[in-house]
């Protein structure tokens, strides 16, 4: 379904509307790869937890009493009832509403009412009847989980994109970045449309022309580039499906005084050269389901082949003045919050793609842009022009690798 030559990269549009493909993705990607499940700032206290999904599987992410972060399948081992229906909370454990089986916040089975009624074999088995757990690994505050027994270490899975995750995490001058309640939106389309869009610089001048014209006319977001911050515009594609989009533009978010203060704080911590690298607009997509952006962390939640939820968590930085975070919030919310002038038009495009591909006669979609001018590093990282489809090709190479069961680890 993904076909590549030296000059062409074509995908079968059935990947967006075939229920069989969706089920295979849930199994071979969402139960296999490292999946972003949350941020450390969401489970700070011992006993803190929240519920979520990996693919379509219900999970609980919890900070156990021993301080470790664990990810459980949100299902009672007895008769399969959902264990926890709270969005979040703090608890020493979880008791099933159905027959009262109880599990500690480390997942251990700690209580079975009327356990004497069970046979001898059960008494011996029960120590193995704790909550099913995913493997958990964190990097720079980002919590990932995997349901694959032999999954490679997270840092191997990230590979060369780690450099960009570090640049992203270093945006918070004292190293601490927090999230809170997200903007959540849904759309009647496949999850991969949002994935592709977050690392696409070819579409904004078309899809977002109404927003950009509005900002210009209203005098909002005047952009005057500072020479020192003239970071290049570029795209990257990495093994395992990760990708990066980078362009200058922080000057449109901050006042000159705020930007000075922010750069000073970054320089004090990282030196001038790295501060200039950090202070740019950068979208870092970690395949399959999370995009780290300058104002937010965007998490993509597949519901079905034609339905997706997206949760966009605004990030606040410690170590900056309140007005810097306020400026970031104002910019982010105006543009890509739930009612953002920019983001709402992307969402309509996703629905439009889902409609268009019902034309079965269209057999292949074209992702050739810039394919013959990519610069390929020794480690396999591909570098493209800002509007090239380097990220989208990386996404579908990573997709193909996982769907063919060819991932290492």
């Amino acid at each position: 379904m993904v076909e590549e030559t030296a000059q062409t990269f074509r995908v079968d549009p059935r990947i967006y509307d075939d229920p069989g493909v969706f089920e295979a993705e849930m199994e071979r990607i969402f139960e296999s790869n490292w999946i972003y499940v949350g941020h450390e700032s969401e489970v700070v206290e011992r006993g803190a937890y929240f519920t979520s999904t990996m693919g379509t599987q219900p999970i609980i992410v919890a900070r156990s009493d021993d301080g470790g972060i664990r990810v459980f399948l949100n299902v009672c081992r007895h008769r399969g009832n959902v264990l926890c229906r709270d969005a979040a909370g703090n608890s020493k454990g979880f008791a099933c509403r159905y027959h009262g089986w109880a599990f500690g916040n480390d997942g251990a089975l700690i209580g079975v009412p009327d356990i004497e009624a069970y046979p001898e074999s059960f008494q011996r088995e029960k120590e193995h009847l704790g909550l099913l757990q995913a493997r958990v690994s964190t990097y720079r505050g980002l919590i990932f989980a995997s349901l694959r027994h032999g999954v490679e270490p997270l840092e191997d899975y990230l590979g060369a994109v780690k450099t960009f995750v570090d640049l992203w995490a270093d945006m918070a001058p004292d190293g601490t970045l927090r999230i809170s309640a997200p903007h959540s939106y849904s759309y009647p389309g496949n999850w991969k449309f949002q994935v592709e869009n977050g690392v696409d610089m070819y579409h904004p001048s078309f899809v977002h022309q109404s927003a950009f014209a509005t900002f210009r006319r209203q005098g909002i977001q005047k952009y005057q580039q500072r020479r020192a911050l003239a970071a290049e515009s570029v795209t990257y594609g990495f093994d395992n499906g990760h990708s990066v989009l980078q362009r200058p533009g922080l000057e449109s978010i901050y006042s000159p005084e705020q930007l000075d203060g922010y750069l000073q704080a970054l320089t004090a911590r990282h030196g001038a050269e790295r501060a200039a690298q950090i202070a740019t607009i950068r979208h870092v997509h970690i395949f399959p389901n999370v995009c780290l952006m300058d104002g937010n962390i965007r998490v993509i939640q597949p519901l079905s082949v034609t339905a997706t939820n997206v949760h966009s968590y605004f990030t606040t930085f410690d170590g900056v003045s309140d007005d810097v975070n306020a400026a970031r919030l104002r910019d982010y919310q105006r543009r890509i919050g739930t009612t953002g002038l920019v983001g709402t038009d992307d969402v309509d495009i996703f629905a439009g793609s889902q409609s268009g591909i019902r034309a079965r006669t269209l057999e292949r979609l074209i992702i050739d842009r810039g394919i013959d001018r990519e610069v390929i590093d020794a480690d396999g990282t591909r570098r493209g022009g800002p509007m090239d489809e380097t990220p989208q090709r990386a996404i579908y190479r990573g997709w193909r690798l996982a769907m063919n069961g060819e991932r290492g680890g």
Partner: protein
């Protein structure tokens, strides 16, 4: 003394302007520093924490400009809305104006004609919220100092809220 009928008529008038897409006139119903707020967390400080929508005057103007004068794709075709206002309760007048509460049910659909079968179009849906207004006098008329709409699904994913509730 505040006449509750006068307040109710004002709320119905605002709703009519929105359903008629008379957005420029709707803008003039707000005080210059008036705020339109749809919270994510009804108890949050909207200056510091994210909201579904938190528009001051310039942001409201930008929103209306994009709706009326630019190719705003998520509103082409445009939403047709029907604002239903009920359960209106009017407080007494204080130094900062009058508080009025009501229930809001907006029914909405984007139509591309009778034959269209397209994702994101043709499905009629509702948006339900409980409103708190703070209204102030300006000569013989009322102006909106604050319009706060707490959606009953404020913490749930929302599909395409590119129209004005």
């Amino acid at each position: 003394m505040v006449d509750p009928h006068e307040i109710a008529n004002f709320l119905y008038y605002e709703a009519e302007l929105l359903d008629d897409r008379r957005f420029d006139e709707w803008l003039s119903l707000f005080e210059k520093d008036g705020l339109f707020w749809i919270p994510l967390d009804p108890e949050a400080d909207p200056a510091r924490e994210a909201s579904i929508l938190y528009d001051d005057g310039p942001q409201r103007e930008a929103r209306v400009h994009q709706l009326l004068h630019e190719p705003h794709w998520s509103q082409r075709p445009p939403s047709r809305t029907m604002h239903t206002i009920s359960n209106i309760r009017v407080g007494s007048e204080g130094s900062d104006g009058v508080e009025a509460r009501c229930n809001l049910l907006v029914t909405e659909v984007r139509s591309s004609g009778h034959r269209a079968v397209q994702s994101g179009l043709g499905v009629q849906r509702t948006v339900a919220g409980r409103c708190t207004y703070r209204l102030v006098r300006d000569g013989g008329r009322w102006l909106i100092a604050l319009k706060k709409v707490v959606l009953i699904d404020h913490d749930r994913p929302i599909e395409n809220l590119s129209f004005i509730i």
